[in-house]
Amino acid sequence: MSRLDIKHGIIEMGHGSGGRASATLIEELFVRHFDNSLLSQGNDQAAFNVPAGRMVISTDAHVITPLFFPGGDIGSLSVHGTINDVAMSGAAPLYLAASFIIEEGFPLADLEAIVISMAGASKAAGVPVVTGDTKVVERGKGDGVFITTTGIGIVPAGVDISGDRAKAGDAIIVSGSIGDHGIAILSSREGLEFGTAMASDSAALHTLVAAMVADVPGIRCLRDPTRGGLATTLNELARQSGVGMRIEEAAIPVKAEVRGACELLGLDPLYIANEGKLVCIVAAEDAAHLLAIMHKHPLAQNAAIIGTVCADAQQMVVMQTAFGGNRVVDWLAGEQLPRIC
């Protein structure tokens, strides 16, 4: 069987045909780097035993531009994204499946870099990629590479986390500074390069969640504020639970670099994406204890209570500004766009 020329080679239609070239690609790139016994069996599926209890499943398609950005790339992001979606149920993630749609002509060296990064993220998280699929589309019909990952996990007994459980009086906690990922991406996007050392916060949050639910199994809601940012996540939770929220601008952690970039571009950090943060809603009496636990975890050292849930038929999220006024924090309409005046 011919070897892949990773240094100079590119993806050709044959790599997705299911024939010999496909097998070479899978063995020399995916199986080699993901390196686990379930995947190495070479079946079209992975079979494994599961413990009794509640399982969760989640899937996430990753279509990011640029593919490589400060603090990560589409590979690590596709692992973190799905692990986090699984973990936001309180579950311990077990396994991942990954599906690649690759554009003809995509450099093998880039693909390998992505797969190595993905494998590294998966190993670091202890959540192996145990099955997958590869398709190749003609040049011009994809954007380099799209990666869809699906994850499953087991929810510990006694944990019941859902977006519809927030109650008036509950505390709202965010696990750290917001907007880091979105600003890192924007700063490296073509046509908008601006000098910032900002790195994406892309990270797997399942160990943080495990520590949180171990001590406070009664956590009501968890969600990672990815696209649409903190504002969108709070509005989603308010609608699902049929409640309002009152938050304080001064309590929300935002890094100076993110604030600066947002000022310059006319953007609002509340709407900027995160990939390594979570929002937690918990009964007020558990909030201080939970916050102390979060502070001990490396991914939540800047966690903060940012507000409270309240009764509100309009389900509005209202923020007291650092300035002292009030304003609605609405859903994001369309995309956030830089202002021109």
Binding site: T321, G325, D330, G334, L337, R339, C341
Partner: protein
């Protein structure tokens, strides 16, 4: 953040608001027009209204670049993108503004037109250089803030002899719009919060004629909430004293004569347009610029023989009245029901500087009566 935090300081703001409360006469209503959408948003985003006495109210002006662009000009741009197969480059704010019936640049893009969102005029130039086989048109809009960058890229394009780059010029001028609103007299205006960034270009002296002719005080105000509140105090004092002067609160950016390099650049490339249609204000003589004869080769209106298109606004939309300061956004029947930021019917609901968007995005909790 320096130059931002101190101008968003709640204590300073409350101290200034206390001075305003002490200064206002109880039997006088102070109706102040903030010309710029940037001010409208600062007022709502930070809750400046919450600090004002009852008898100080804000009237929202037309200073939102995309709001005053008539639907016909957007329709023209869409036709250019679709029928002439050009690459149309535009500031992102314009993408969702309603053109003709249920159309927008966003929708045209989804249909396959090559429309690119850019962050700077020079991006359009870069796209033209990267695509020598395609015609690239920069859909240029805005007040005097965005006019100098357009002039700069025209100058560069000419120097580079770029044959595939043109500008669809829609740049408008602030003082004529202000004069028009004051002369029409439809809205009672006791004082004006003058533009921040525009004034940095054209200078504070540009409004002297406005103040003299219509006996109305004007204070050039920065875009931060403390700037706005301090400017309100300055206006209240002028009104109480019966004065009608141009005052400059935004001294950290605005000088009397403005940015003269930018003015020279504009003068080199543009000339007065005899008449221009504004959304809401109608056709105003000498209120906009066009590309002059020296740069005619880079004028998209000439290269593509573009025709004026007249498109009616959506029925029921009161954007025109909002832009003239006659109505507040929540007085519109479509506000928050048929017209929302997700599905805007009028331009004022789209833009990050539109008055309707400010009301909807930040201010709704007042009208909805949500508990605090």
């Amino acid at each position: 953040m320096k130059y931002v935090d101190e101008f968003r300081d709640g204590d300073t703001a409350r101290a200034l608001a206390g001075l305003i409360r002490a200064a206002v006469k109880p039997d006088v209503n102070y109706r102040l027009m903030e010309f710029c959408g940037g001010h409208t948003h600062a007022i709502f985003r930070f809750g400046v209204n919450d600090l004002m006495p009852e008898n100080v109210s804000f009237i929202h002006g037309p200073g939102c670049p995309v709001c005053v662009l008539p639907a016909g000009r957007i329709e023209s741009a869409i036709r250019l993108a679709e029928e002439e197969d050009v690459i149309l480059c535009t500031y992102a704010d314009l993408m969702r503004v309603p053109a003709g019936k249920h159309d927008s640049l966003h929708k045209a893009k989804a249909r396959g037109a090559d429309i690119r969102m850019i962050y700077s005029a020079t991006d359009a130039l870069a796209i033209a250089r990267a695509n020598p086989e395609r015609q690239v048109v920069f859909f240029a809009i805005g007040f005097e803030t965005t006019t100098p960058p357009t002039a700069a890229v025209l100058k560069i394009a000419k120097a580079m002899q770029l044959s595939n780059f043109t500008v669809f010029c829609n740049h408008v001028e602030t003082p004529p719009a202000m004069m028009h609103i004051l002369s029409a007299g439809e809205a009672r205006i006791d004082g004006i919060l003058g533009p921040s960034h525009v004034s940095a270009i054209i200078g504070s002296h540009a409004y002297a004629a406005c103040c003299d002719t219509y006996r109305v005080p004007l204070v050039i105000a920065g875009f931060e909430p403390v700037d706005v509140i301090q400017s309100v105090l300055m206006l209240v004092r002028q009104i109480n004293a019966g004065e009608a002067r141009v005052e400059n609160q935004y001294t950290r950016a605005v000088s009397e004569h403005g940015n003269q390099k930018a003015q020279a650049l504009m003068a080199e490339v543009f000339e007065q347009r005899p008449i221009f249609e504004w959304r809401g204000l109608g056709s105003l003589p000498e209120s906009a610029v066009q590309i002059n004869s020296v740069y005619a080769a880079f004028d998209a209106e000439k290269r593509f023989a573009m025709q004026e298109i007249s498109t009616a606004d959506i029925k029921g939309c009161i954007c025109p009245a909002v832009l003239r300061g006659m109505n507040n956004p929540d007085e519109c029947k479509l506000f928050g029901t048929a017209c929302t930021p997700e599905d805007p019917k009028g331009a004022c609901m789209v833009s990050s500087e539109g008055a309707c968007a400010a009301y909807y995005s930040y201010g709704r909790y007042r009208t909805a009566g949500a508990e605090q």
